[in-house]
Amino acid sequence: MSQGYVPVQWNRNKKIYDIVLWLGIVTAMAVNVAVAGASVSASLAPSDEILVLRALGDTGFILLNIILAIGPLARLNRCFLPLLYNRRHMGVSFFVIVLAHGIFALFWYHGFGVQDPITSVFTSQGTLETVSDYPFQPLGFVALLIFFLMAATSHDFWNAVLGPKFWKSLHMLVYAGYALVLLHLALGALQAEPSHVPNWVLFASLAWVGGLHLTSMFAGKADLSKVNRGAWVEILDPMAIERGVGRVVEVKGQERVAIFRTDNDEFGAISNVCRHQAGPLGEGCMIDGLVTCPWHGFQYQLEDGASPPPFEEKVATYELKVENGSLLLNTTALPPGTPRPLIKLADHASEAS
């Protein structure tokens, strides 16, 4: 949290994560090179450099598909949260792989000539008029720049320096990078494939990434069970919120609000946006009485939206009140860290009766 920065805050879970991740990467590379090398007789096989170059690109593509799936998977099922926890290590590992692919391609195909390699990437022949002639390397180059920006700013230090909103926007560029990668493959290497099967991998990728995002978008849609009453909105059926769990409420034109029910049946509302990486607090739960972000475990006191000392993060809080047995939320955010009383619905309910 905000107690200072170290390169990596290692713990056992992260170490296991990285070991499994890199075992997977090395195995995928080895399978790719071995299968490609063995699928044709040795004298007719592509050269070793090309096999490695292709394996790096293929492995990067596979990793990107896993990375993009983790968010929606974790939203659909909390069991996937451990994959999300250290996703940035997977992201940086992915960048290392595609950087190697890019450097290898840059020097192998564009180097050692009468032009500098970067100029060669952007000035080669080709036309935008036909799919078969469309230059595909610039697409990969721009995607690599995007992934570089993301990897370079992945540390919490840059999140704090750039601000969570800008940082989040910057990292949403991953979708632009993904689109460029799809085009880079479709207009490049896959046009040279002797089989159409790898082309279908692109469609499968789109179905996988797009399908999961759409599903999670609808399944995890913010709770709209509320009735507007000016600045106050009614939260419908609050007792349906599990103890120690949150509910996300959408407020038009503002940040979403996370409403939590404590083990004592008290209700409190804070901003849904974690100060760390804008994770959805309302999808988290309460541990030791603290709202805990599902992404990286940042914690906030429900009473005032502040992280417990010595941490300094604070999120906006919201007032709740009970009126005629209904739970009402004031949609005007209070400044981050503002204390206000938690509301015990049962007491009010009994008072009303």
Partner: protein
Amino acid sequence: MKTPFFVGYLPFPKTLKPFFQWAVPLLLLAGLATAYVFAINTERTGTGTWNAYDPVSITGVVKAKPYPMIITIDRANHPVLIVQLGKLDATEILAPLDGKTVSIEGFMIERGPWQMMEIEGPYSVAEAPTLDLAPPTESAGMFVSLVGEIVDSKCMLGVMKPGAGKVHRECAELCVMGGMPPMLLVKNDAGEKAAYLLVDQQGNAVGRRLIPYIALPVAVEGFAFRMGDMTAIRIDLAMVQELRGSAKVAFGESIGLAGTSSFCRIPS
């Protein structure tokens, strides 16, 4: 709470372990299966070789035009093409030595009947006692109209595998910019492949004029002729035409002597 909640800095929840015992291997298997699908369709890239770690020395007579080559006793009718390391030709080094006998050291690139030597620089060449070797005789030309792919000879003969096709296009462009002899690769219905050196209508190097057509399916017109056992075409640059709508021209395997098969009958 029904679903266990994971927090990274806390011990891994025991109740989550069964889920991860199948979910992680399943994810890994899916990744490996995708790697397999990408790799199993690897194309055949031809029998070219590039012996980049074992330099050899040959002695012969320099023929600088249309492209630098060495006529040796063993290969009087099919000289060894000479290029430099990287994507550079050897014209500057060998043009002043045209007709002279030299001893030259470099790395062999071979595919089918074609041989090429990659040299490191001017210090790879030394004058040697004169050999009485005449340049291969040139046959009369025969008008041909062929469809194929223009490639750079160095990559196609074995340095890059594959050394043709769209992915290799920029590399081929750089090679031809650097003076590498361009070749036309053609394939007949039987799947046999042949390679022709390309020269202009005066029999000189075509240089950069072919760059817009490299690695594309093209139709070429010109006069095919023999230089000894080598096949070449004096192409009409105005008649080189890119074929639209054709996805690609695939090559691999051998690149035999054109003119002895059904490609075109070039008079000997």
